[in-house]
């Protein structure tokens, strides 16, 4: 059995709005994040990702359900494991009038760690030279890097990053992704919450997709994409004839532009042979791999149309 670094069972979070009406942010979420690798935590805005992370970190109280980090019940025993967890929740939050270094020094002193680790963390995130500037003068990218530096003060075994590339320019995004990969390769388990599908697809080894506060799918990124890896795109001189032949042969096919798209689990050579038997010669045949985006949109179609979890109980 794989060791789980994060485990939630039936996790639920309800809020009361200003009129006293109940709003459900997380509705019985079962989350299991195995040790090692980068685990994507994917969901549309308002699907409950940040609320789940905040509950795991003791910043919000769960209405119901249980949570475990490294097999330890949280939030009751969170102090026992907090030193092993680095986290950036939503936007980085530091004291604006302190320098980046001062902010890190205060956190290092809270941990009781050596101040020399502050230097190392600043160097790791390439903030040397700007560390004595006030935090409020930092660009968004620098703020994100400082937040990651703060997580490194602990030498964490688990890193929880909530939308870490939000608002960053392409160079900043690449930098953060490289940092995540480096940390993962050094043995740190990373939970990467994001609504940017390409990011999850590029960086993550496994993922959980949630919508309306519920888990919709979970597994390795490869497994999640497999169900959709069964269509073929065929370029052919007479696409209408090809569609007729394939339909008669029992395939599900349709014309898309000047090409034909076939949904099948059978190999492409079978499809090409069927067409060749009717004197229809394939110019090119490409397996269409469904990307995470289409899979995600398929899964969360109801959520995005339904307007979120409000009012459910």
């Amino acid at each position: 059995m794989t060791d789980l670094v994060i485990e939630t069972t039936g996790l639920r979070k309800e809020f009361r709005d200003r009129r006293g009406r109940r709003r459900v942010a997380v509705a019985g979420l079962d989350l299991a994040v195995p040790a090692g690798g980068v685990h994507g935590f994917l969901g549309p805005n308002g699907s409950g990702k940040t609320t789940t992370i905040r509950m795991l970190l003791g910043l919000a109280r769960a209405t119901r359900g249980s949570m475990r980090l490294f097999g330890t019940d949280v939030p009751r025993r969170l102090p026992q494991v907090i030193d092993r967890i680095g986290a950036v929740v939503e936007a980085p939050k530091f004291s604006p009038n302190f320098t980046g270094r001062q902010n890190l020094q205060l956190l290092a002193r809270t941990l009781g760690t050596a101040t020399s680790r502050v230097d190392a963390a600043i160097e790791t995130v390439s903030l040397t030279g700007r560390d004595r500037d006030r935090y409020k003068s930092y660009s968004l990218g620098m703020k994100q890097r400082l937040a990651i530096a703060a997580t490194l003060l602990k030498e964490p075994s688990l890193l929880i990053l909530d939308e870490p590339t939000n608002g960053l320019d392409p160079a900043g995004i690449r930098e953060i992704r490289d940092t995540i990969r480096d940390l993962s390769q050094s043995g740190v388990t990373v939970l990467l919450s994001s609504h940017i599908l390409a990011e999850v697809q590029q960086v993550c080894t496994s993922a959980t997709i949630i919508g309306n506060g519920r888990m919709l799918a979970s597994g390795t990124v490869e497994d999640l994409l497999r169900p959709g890896a069964s269509s073929l795109r065929i370029d052919i001189s007479d696409p209408d004839a090809a569609v007729r032949v394939l339909t008669a042969a029992g395939y599900t096919s349709s014309r898309t532009g000047g090409a034909v798209e076939v949904e099948t689990q059978r190999p492409g050579s079978d499809v090409a042979r069927t067409l060749a038997e009717h004197d229809l010669w394939v110019d090119s045949l490409v397996p269409v791999r469904q990307d995470l985006e289409s899979f995600f949109l398929e899964l969360t179609a109801d959520d995005t149309l339904g307007g979120g979890p409000e009012g459910r109980s």
């Binding site: 905040r54 970190l57 003791g58 910043l59 919000a60 109280r61 939030p75 969170l78 102090p79 907090i82 967890i85 986290a87 929740v89 936007a91 980085p92 939050k93 530091f94 004291s95 604006p96 009038n97 302190f98 001062q102 902010n103 020094q105 205060l106 956190l107 002193r109 809270t110 941990l111 009781g112 703060a150 602990k154």
Partner: protein, 325 residues
């Protein structure tokens, strides 16, 4: 716990607003002392000579001479027993032209001393508020809790830092203020009444307690509301209109905030009420019939302590239970 306290003391020390307020804690009493020293300075020889000249000028004034002559004709009309006393009793005196009073230690101990205590408490309450409010306004509280999730410790660490700074600051400033006042009195040859030193010592100690408790209360309220603005609204509302509102509602003066703060610093204060109807027929005016009531030191301690306990309890409960943004 000590580690958290140290971190919070450092955080407090690094906040500019806190440093400005601590500077004000030194500056305001220093200005009060300087103004008091200036306003009670001894009369100089030149000032005395100038006053004497003015007296002489007035004595040669025609109107004055006419007044004296009228007095000498009918002294009783001017309230003077005999005609030869008219000049001495109606004549201009040097004191008329020297309006300054000498340093009055009783006035300082019952007026300026408590004022300094209240101002210090007010400034240190602002310090407690701004310190807690900055963490909430910047959102850095959540980041701090990611490093120390034991919320009780965090609350106590921050509160401990605020109270420690408030107590030390007010103790040092009050000691310096009174040392300066007593040195000034000694330099001017003014005797210090024997009862004054223990009175001032006790008042200063209570001033230190007021500053510490006030800063704790303001910190607790800010931690509850998570907003500096809300706390400042409550503080200023209480200070400016609290007593007026209570008076408008017909609440007895003994429940007024400023009366209780005064009673705490002055070891009890008296206030007045309308005497009961039964007193109208009383032949002897008792204290009750004169409408005099007292708020004792113990009363004020209970009153102020009650509100502090409520603020601390609510703040702690809310901080431990509520979600942190």
């Amino acid at each position: 716990m000590i580690g958290v306290l140290r971190v919070e003391l450092t955080r407090l020390r690094w906040r500019r607003a806190v440093l400005v307020l601590l500077g004000a804690c030194v500056l305001v009493p220093a200005v009060i002392f300087a103004v008091t020293a200036w306003n009670t300075r001894p009369v100089s020889a030149s000032e005395l000579a100038q006053a004497e000249q003015q007296v002489e000028r007035l004595r040669h004034d025609n109107g004055y001479q006419a007044d004296i002559e009228r007095c000498q004709r009918r002294p009783q009309r001017y309230g003077v027993p005999t005609a030869d006393q008219c000049e001495s009793q109606m004549g201009p005196q040097v004191e008329w032209f020297i309006s300054r009073s000498p340093l009055d230690l009783r006035h300082v101990s019952r007026g300026l001393g408590p004022t300094v205590c209240v101002l210090l408490a007010g400034l240190l309450m602002l310090m407690g508020t701004t310190f807690a409010g900055a963490d909430w306004n910047s959102g850095s509280m959540s980041n701090q809790l990611l490093f120390e999730p034991r919320r009780l410790r965090v609350w106590l660490g921050k509160a401990g830092a605020v109270v420690a700074v408030a107590v030390v600051t007010s103790a040092v400033v009050l000691a310096a203020f009174w040392s300066a006042v007593l040195l000034l009195a000694s330099a001017r040859g003014i005797d210090v009444p024997p009862h004054l030193t223990p009175f001032v010592r006790d008042q200063s100690l209570r001033g230190v307690v007021l500053a510490g408790a006030g800063s704790l209360g303001a910190f607790a309220v800010t931690m509850f509301f998570r907003s500096t603005v809300a706390t400042l609204g409550i503080l200023f509302g209480t200070a400016l209109v609290g007593s007026l509102l209570l008076a408008a509602l017909g609440v007895s003066e003994q429940w007024f905030p400023h009366v209780n703060v005064g009673a705490w610093l002055l070891d009890g204060v008296r206030y007045y009420v309308t005497p009961p109807l039964s007193c109208r027929s009383a032949s002897h005016l008792t204290r009750e019939c004169r409408g005099i009531r007292f708020v004792t030191l113990r009363d004020s301690a209970a009153y102020l302590g009650f509100f502090l306990a409520i603020a601390v309890a609510m703040s702690l409960a809310a901080f431990r239970r509520r979600d942190v943004p």
